[in-house]
């Protein structure tokens, strides 16, 4: 148990630092999609719930596990879906000048 704890803390510390460095660079433009994708990734808790259901050690753990799988799956599906929908909407005026030559209007 002791080494498992230290191993876990190592992983937590490193992932935390990587998280800080990576997320600091994310443009505020995308903060809403960021929140919805981290939500979907966080729902990886579904693997814990799946193992709980699969082991079927008690009736209670089985039922709680099923409910947990449902909750996490809805986050995975919904989270990725809405993130994708949002990101599809972000368009730049440069490669796709819908409004003709007015994409980058007069600067003077």
């Amino acid at each position: 148990m002791g080494t498992a704890l230290v191993d876990g803390l190592f992983v937590f510390m490193l992932a935390g630092f990587i998280g800080f460095e990576v997320i600091k660079r994310i443009s505020p433009l995308l903060h809403t999609p960021l929140m919805s994708i981290t939500n979907a990734l966080d729902a990886i808790a579904v693997v814990g719930a799946i193992v709980l259901v699969g082991r079927h050690e008690s009736k209670l753990s089985f039922i709680l596990g099923i409910l947990a799988v449902i909750a996490a799956t809805s986050n995975i599906v919904g989270g990725f879906l809405i993130t994708d929908r949002m990101l599809k909407m972000f368009k730049s005026s440069r490669p796709n000048p819908k409004t003709g030559a007015a994409g980058t209007p007069a600067k003077s």
Binding site: F12, P33, I37, D42, L81, D84, F90, R94, P105
Partner: protein
Amino acid sequence: MTEFVGSQSFIGLIYLIASALFILALRWMNAPPTARRGILAGETGMVLAIGGTLLQLGIEGKLEHIAISYGWIFVALGIGTAIGVPLGLVQMTAVPQRTALSHAFGAFCVTLVGTAEYYLGGTNIPPFKMSVLCCEVILGGLTVTGSLMAAGKLQEVLPQRPITFKGQNLFNLSMLVVAIGIAVYLVRHPGAPHLYPVMVGIALVFGVMLVIPIGGADMPTVISLLNSYAGLSAAAMGFVLNNKLLIVAGALDGSSGFILSVIMSKAMNRSFTNVLFGAFGQVAAAAAGAQEARPVKSASPEEAAGILAAASRVVVVPGYGMAVAQAQHKVRELYDALTKRGVDVRFAIHPVAGRMPGHMNVLLAEADVPYDRLMEMDDINGDFPQVDVSLIIGANDVTNPAAKTDKSSPIYGMPVLDVERSHTVMVIKRSMNPGFAGIDNPLYYMDQTLMLFGDAKVFVSNIVKELGHG
């Protein structure tokens, strides 16, 4: 080969790859051109992890037993998908409440798994496992109810006004102390199953109490904070199950939520404790009551259209009011009409405009406004003296110059957009009622300010019509 496929190292490797893909997913999220690749990486990691887990379960379980479990797991995955799809297809204006709801779902999953682990472990749970398990369910529990409350407020099922009572902070604090006290007792004496539901119950009530005193304008900070809690509870679950993939995903989500909460509180010049225990609305209401009616100048859509057409640089400042009025598509038409006339139109986005981080950007992107026209506060603030017209649509506190000059203002010190430096300021507003925080805005009484009274959507479309005639 089968021995390897079912082994701990095999599933460990799968989880390692999934962790790397999750980090890449966030790495690619940093800018719009690569962001959709990030989703693909995240999805691949997710499918690998779930597939690997199911495979391992099948190999290590007993045959007749596992068939039943598989059946139920697929039913649950199916139901989850059926709930997830509509949640993924909500309107963009409903994204804040959807996000709050999904924080609740994530934390619900974590709390259920923690509870199951507790009752399976019984009296034999070692102290370390028990302490992370308590962290998991306390954080998870308060996130479930806190997020549901936040979602209710955002959906306007619950009142948006802060609900406060005397001794609230003391009451909340003592609840938290009792919950932690029970947790400490359970770590030392795991065989006290009657105390466990009490601890979870207190965490659930604490979540409600934490969010009811928080007003609508503080929602961006609260959503970010709940995001962070949801992540941390998932990481704690990773410790309980000794699952490193969960620890990684939880740590990433936790740090993401934390960074966002720090950005949000900085953008409001308030500390975490102030957001959580401040009950902002009350102070503000008292300050607003003392104001007298002062004269303001107003203008019609025709006049506004004339001024806009004559300008060469226009900055639009959107706020929550634009979202409420669903005016983003009309705003895009205005952008098109002005751009066609050679007017340089940009959008100034305050970090806390709207109800969640990045809210305005998503709404304007939905309306097809190119994202390179959306400027962050720090990038555009220096440009305001060269701006001919600042058009404020449904924003209030983020443009309030009192935050810079008036030490008695409740928002003194909050970074704001320097709109009053532009030549003309136009404010679309329903009436002279103060905004959500209830703070009066001296901007409205300035010489260069014109008030455009009316519904944001109707007013903007009238301006567009006028521009079409001329």
